[in-house]
């Protein structure tokens, strides 16, 4: 059994600290701890933002802006252990802002954006069934209408409540329920062959 004795040097990098410790330090102004959080959760946040936006275009900017805002708002985070989900929500707001701005500026050339790359182009032989199923889900989500997709991701991935989704999207809760209902029916139907 490993026993750390006083005096025995056990230097471990900050990267091994848990989320709560890191978020606590970062909210106290430790930039190094925040950097570890960026490295740890950056890919998750980026993947989520890309799904939400339906495109990898602009996603780096959005996630960057999200982390900068997160740094400013960290002292308001009441439960530092929940920093991962909280980062998703900060990124969620940034992505929605960007989507709204995009709509305002280029409502017309909707098709010009590079599509989200889904892993369905890999050779079938190489795909384990897991990947095939995941691709099917990935496609099902990609093909959902934008609002439905946003509602679905916010509910199922970021853990928003119906009310919270309504607030952030500027929709009545009943509308959110309707959109989610359609999204779910459609996703479940598309996943049916993979059951």
């Amino acid at each position: 059994m490993f026993v750390a004795k006083p005096g025995l040097v056990v230097r471990v990098p900050l990267a091994e600290a848990d989320d709560r410790t890191l978020a606590g330090r970062a909210s106290d102004g430790d930039v190094r701890a925040f950097e570890v959080l960026i490295r740890r959760h950056g890919p998750l946040v980026r993947g989520y933002a890309a799904r939400l936006m339906g495109s990898t275009d602009e996603v780096d900017d959005v996630v960057q802006a999200a982390f900068i805002t997160a740094w400013q708002q960290l002292p308001t985070l009441s439960d530092p252990a929940a920093v991962k989900g909280w980062l998703l929500r900060v990124a969620n707001r940034k992505a929605l802002d960007r989507i709204r701005a995009r709509k305002y500026h280029d409502d017309i050339d909707d098709e010009s954006r590079p599509p989200l790359v889904t892993p369905d182009s890999t050779s079938p032989e190489a795909l384990a069934e897991h990947h095939a199923v995941q691709s099917a889900l990935s496609r099902a989500l990609t093909e959902l209408p934008e609002l439905q997709r946003q509602c679905w991701l916010m509910k199922e991935v970021a853990g928003y409540s119906y009310d919270e989704i309504g607030t952030d999207l500027g929709l009545p809760t009943s509308t959110v329920r309707g959109l989610l209902s359609r999204a779910r029916t459609s996703v479940i139907a598309r996943m049916e062959p993979w059951r």
Binding site: L14, R20, T21, R25, F34, L44, P75, Q134, P145, R182
Partner: protein, 263 residues
Amino acid sequence: MTPTDDTSPPSGDDLRTLPDRQLTNDELAGHTIDELIDYYDAGLMPPNDSIDTSAGCQLALADIAHLRQLTMHLVDDDSAAQPPVDEGWITSILSHIGAQVEAGRDVPVFGAEVDSRVVITEGALRAIVRAAGDRVDGVFVGRCRFAGDLTELGAPIEVEVEASMLWGQNLMQTAELVRENIVADVRRHTLLNVVAVNVVVQDVRRPSHVDEGGDGREGNDGGPEGSDGGRSRGRGGREGNDGGGPEGGGDVSGVGGTGGAER
């Protein structure tokens, strides 16, 4: 908004999109998918006989559970599929935030006998406390708070730090070292009257670089394991451990005991 974003709830017709099996309201004993998802989210509580005894509902619930699982995999896969984090991108974020450390209160460092007033910010004081605690092997200091009037020289100040410690460390001894370091460093840099340093052990990490003989447990990377359990509090420099008694005794603090106490 595209026409397909029609926000009305789906009619029965919309549900008949399944190739093999029809998820009609009849099949679901009059329930809807949304109802079932809410039921699932509520942990199948309170028990609903009509759902529990309907074969169609049970199939749909299995679908829902399966989909939840797939979603979590998808999020993991999306994370893993991201390009390696670009160093320039990180540097750019850090350069934006570097100048924005919240300063907090001004803490006087010298007495009134000195003509000019010298202060350090609360933020800098936190950095001193952090560095002092981090000097103890295996310890990471987390959040740090001060109770008392920092702006008044000589006022009694209590320091509370959260700490992450290493599995196998004697938590009491380690907390004592943390306390000693913090008191020493704060006294070295300021004239603050520190009357207590409270150490809250909020995480006990399995060291990832130590082979534990493959017991299947991984290094704690923010997971629930070992978190939120041990509270080792000592006041006024006194030895104290009134949270989750270590079960191991001797030199080794039982992580199971401290970590599991409040789970």
